[in-house]
Symmetry: C2
Subunit: 253 residues, 2 copies
């Protein structure tokens, strides 16, 4: 009854801060003590400690490896991007992009995809799931839907080598012209995490794109998830004349 301390210091936060200091005193890739050892050092239970570790894994500070231990993550965490920006991440342009096709099927469009592509729900579409890699490292998972009538004879190999838009133009006479794309933040689910090689619930970018050819005909509907720890979007915007590109993120000033 007496004083009732504000108790702003949750154990979980205390543990997290302790771990942050511990991480900063070590080099990337270094192991840190085991969960049970840390519990004893900090005087907290294992679920409490694991909860704090969960947060640091999600924010990209720590890595866990089952049966091996916990390690300081290699990449700088996103939250601290603003503190060490210049030496950050791989530039978009660099690296060699390759693809690995995971699924390749002709299926019925269904209601949702059919509406997107202006097709009947029963119309055939080619459904492709493919992994995008940069220098062999998984970077994104991409799900494409293309009207089957547009791409007769399309093979999985076509989706692994060269640019898809080049293939569309050269082999099918379809000239991609315009696209509407949305981007939003998300977190990885089990499947995406597994394929991209990041923990579940890691920050990621969700792209959705509907592409049209020069006659206004829908060509592809793409839905893709990019890992957030290795990928970012960099754009150069020009103002002066209030162009559409500049304003696209809402009010900048």
């Amino acid at each position: 009854m007496a004083s009732e301390a504000p108790r702003s210091a949750l154990k979980r936060e205390r543990v997290r801060d302790y771990l942050m200091e511990l991480v900063e005193s070590r080099a990337p890739g270094d192991p840190i003590p085991s969960e049970r050892a840390l519990c004893e050092q900090l005087g907290v239970s294992r679920p409490t400690l694991r909860s704090a570790v969960d947060e640091l894994v999600t924010t990209g500070v720590l890595l866990r490896e089952h049966g091996r231990g916990m390690f300081v993550a290699r990449a700088k965490i996103t939250q601290e991007l603003a503190q060490d920006h210049d030496a950050l991440r791989l530039p978009q342009a660099s690296g060699t992009w390759t693809s690995r096709v995971l699924e390749f099927d002709t299926v019925q469009a269904g209601a949702r995809v059919g509406r997107k592509l202006h097709l009947s729900p029963a119309a055939d579409v080619v459904y492709i799931a493919r992994l995008r890699l940069v220098d062999g490292e998984p970077m994104a998972i991409e799900y494409l839907h293309v009207p089957a009538a547009l791409v007769p004879g399309l093979s999985p190999a076509d989706m692994e080598s060269g640019d898809f838009y080049d293939t569309l133009r050269d082999q099918h006479g379809v000239r991609v012209h315009e696209a509407v794309q949305s981007i939003e933040p998300t977190v990885t689910n089990e499947e995406e995490a597994e394929l991209i090689g990041v923990p579940v619930l890691s920050p990621a970018l969700l792209f959705e794109r509907l592409t049209q050819d020069d006659t206004g005909r829908p060509v592809e509907y793409v839905h893709s998830v990019y890992r957030g720890d290795r990928y970012r979007i960099v754009s150069r915007l020009t103002l002066a004349h209030p162009t559409s590109a500049w304003r696209y993120t809402g009010p900048p000033g």
Copy 2:
């Protein structure tokens, strides 16, 4: 030893799937049973149930309110964006943007910001933290650094009304011309979550922008965090000529 079932069904996943069905059978805003009631229904312990709920709160399916209960979230979750796209979120253009200044100070640039703005670390910069709102709802938190010499007499009120770039041009003769911006996914920390009004570790977009005027002089360095459940970027891209804009996300095809 006999058969050793694959046991792919973790309790946590079973609980999550059960909750997802439960959510889909209800309308947005509806309450769902209490944690303790769900535990009994599902035959799991409360920590296990809470763990599953945590995931659904992070992915935007459920809302928790301390002392009141749990509710079906209003916005469609990000993960399911692809399933109901047309009726999604608020369009970028709609809504009235306002700002609330949280901090407004003249401080020394420091090493990092000084490097960005091409200033000495000891040079004065105006540091502004402001909340951006759409129709009164918090949408983003924005941290600006502007060289103090550029904006003599700038007041907090200037940052709450009108467009900052208009203010720069009309009151200080600075004509914003070009910017380099990066976008990446992140999750909210305590401060951001508190200010924006979302749970900690919610998906969000991290913007970083360096703006120059028409003489190439750095004008502002901005770092902002947008909530992911209400905000997305929509852009229209045109191909045909391989312009820079189109390629900015890496290889599209």
